[in-house]
């Protein structure tokens, strides 16, 4: 019943964004901007494994926490796992209030786009703006 809009998990992720920052020479990098909100992701790859993830973000606490959560979870997993990333899971596990779905979908876009980049897919459309 508490009115705190931030769960303990969101507070923890927001308060310790260990994966905020850059990689020296990322295998792939994407940046998405929509309605002022900005997300950038970068990945290091070793073979088929994601060995490093970093994010940068400008937006509400849920977006920043979501990006940090993504980085923590996907380091050490295979590149193919990126395709499975879904906004819905973030919405539920942080959790994120429904009215912020749009911002988490932006993160989803960025992750998908990163996945395509990592595999050198030529149709990574949204990566340059």
């Amino acid at each position: 019943m508490t009115r705190d809009p931030y769960s303990a998990r969101v507070r923890e992720l927001f308060g310790a964004p260990d994966h905020a920052g850059d990689l020296e020479k990322p295998a792939a990098r994407v940046q998405i901007i929509e309605q002022g909100v900005r997300v950038a992701l970068a990945a290091d790859i070793d073979g088929d494994i994601i060995v490093g993830l970093r994010f940068r973000a400008w937006g509400c606490p849920h977006l920043l926490a979501g990006a940090e959560a993504f980085c923590r979870e996907f380091e050490g997993r295979p590149v193919s796992a990126l395709q499975a990333f879904g906004a819905e899971e973030i919405m539920q596990t942080l959790p994120v209030p429904r009215e912020k779905l749009g911002r988490i979908l932006l993160l989803e876009d960025a992750v998908r786009s990163l996945g395509q980049r990592v595999r050198g897919s030529p149709d990574a459309g949204k990566d340059t703006n």
Partner: protein
């Protein structure tokens, strides 16, 4: 160190703690061995309760410089604003249906005018200049033959900007238009002398001035044509202007808060000013820093700043355990950019990054220094995390 010890509260414009002297006045009035009676009762217990109401009415009248009979007790400034605006508009509706206010008013005023617009009244919304101040000439130009009521607040709750009540009220009086002032943020903090000011209706509330929540007052000038239709009907209390059992402890508490505010106003103002100036000195040099609202016409208890390229909601969270406000105290739940700052010409983004610091009697230098450090650090951290902006 307990959790509490680290909280720094700089949100006195949202609400204040109750002064311990006020608590001491109120507490006995709850108890069976105190004057807990219903002031409507004719017997001794009721009469004693009424004496507390009368004392408090005297104390508030002295603070405002008005007659006791010109005060109506309410549940707070929201009710006072509604009673003033709905009450006066309805009372004078057959003389005319044109009303004037500003988009920078508190929602307890602006929402009421929006309702009246739907009920067939015509409302002119006057915009301030980019510092938040209304030019009296704008008001002069807006008044028409059918204008009945003008409502303009004294101190803005978001920016602290002070309007020139004296000048605005004089224009209204010349044209026989009622003038309502929402003074929720100024009563007890800036001097007011209603006996000599051209004000017809004035709203106030106790919880912004170290009194209890749940009690306010409306000043209704004892002048011909100045009358409000009641919002509620019942047991005839307060001559029917606002019925319901008088909340004696709250009223007595507001009275005591008024007495204290009056006797300590000057030193309190000096304290607020020094706290605000200290905070402003600590952050004014930051990149992209903007102060919202006039520096010259401002209440010293409020400092509102925006900053370039920082997201407001994240900033607020990063500032914890510093307790400050974005937007209005009363609708800080909403994510919409402040309409007050929009009216000052701020972009959505800048309005959204706005932080209102507000200071109180208990504010200490160390708290201000903490706020400075925390603000600088939070802004720095969020900027560090952000990607380059789009080219």
């Amino acid at each position: 160190m307990t959790k509490e010890a680290t909280i720094v509260y700089l949100d006195y414009a949202a609400t204040t703690p109750v002064d311990p002297r006020v608590v001491d006045v109120m507490t006995p009035l709850f108890r069976q061995d105190g004057d807990f009676g219903n002031p409507s009762s004719g017997h001794i217990v009721g009469r004693r309760a009424m004496e507390h109401v009368e004392r408090a009415t005297g104390q508030l009248a002295e603070l405002l410089g008005c007659k006791e009979s010109e005060l109506v007790w309410t549940s707070g400034a929201t009710e006072s604003d509604n009673l003033a605006i709905l009450g006066a508009a309805r009372y004078r509706a057959d003389r005319g249906r044109h009303l004037i206010t500003m988009p920078t008013e508190h929602k307890a005023v602006s929402d009421v005018f929006q309702v009246l617009e739907k009920q067939g009244f015509e409302v002119s919304w006057l915009y301030p200049d980019h510092t938040g101040v209304l030019d009296p000439a704008e008001l002069e130009a807006a008044i028409r033959a059918d204008t009945q009521l003008v409502s303009i607040m004294h101190v803005n709750n978001e920016t602290g900007v002070i309007q020139d009540i004296e000048a605005l009220g004089s224009i209204c009086r010349e044209r026989d238009v009622l003038f309502h002032v929402d003074a929720a943020q100024s009563v007890g903090k800036l001097p007011l002398n209603l006996a000599s000011m051209p004000v017809d209706l004035l709203s106030t509330t106790a919880h912004k001035v170290y009194g209890p929540k749940g009690v306010g007052a409306l000043f209704v000038a004892d002048r011909p044509g100045c009358h409000v239709e009641p919002l509620t009907f019942g047991g005839g209390q307060q001559n029917g202007r606002r019925p319901g059992t008088l909340a004696v402890p709250l009223i007595a508490g507001f009275g005591e808060a008024a007495r204290i505010a009056r006797s300590e106003m000057q030193e309190n103002r000096a304290h607020l000013q020094s706290m605000r100036d200290r905070l402003w000195r600590g952050i004014r040099d930051m990149d992209g820093m903007l102060r919202n609202g006039s520096e010259d016409h401002s209440f010293p208890g409020i400092l509102n700043v925006s900053i370039d390229d920082v997201e407001g909601e994240s900033l607020l969270l990063a500032l914890e355990p510093l307790c400050v406000a974005t937007g209005s105290a009363c609708n800080s739940k909403s994510q919409a950019p402040s309409s007050v700052l929009r009216a000052l010409g701020r972009s959505d983004l800048l309005a959204q990054s706005a932080i209102r610091f507000s200071f109180g009697r208990p504010t200490a230098t160390a708290e201000v220094d903490f706020a400075v450090a925390r603000y600088r650090e939070a802004v720095g951290r969020l900027r560090d995390i952000a990607p380059e902006p789009a080219p």
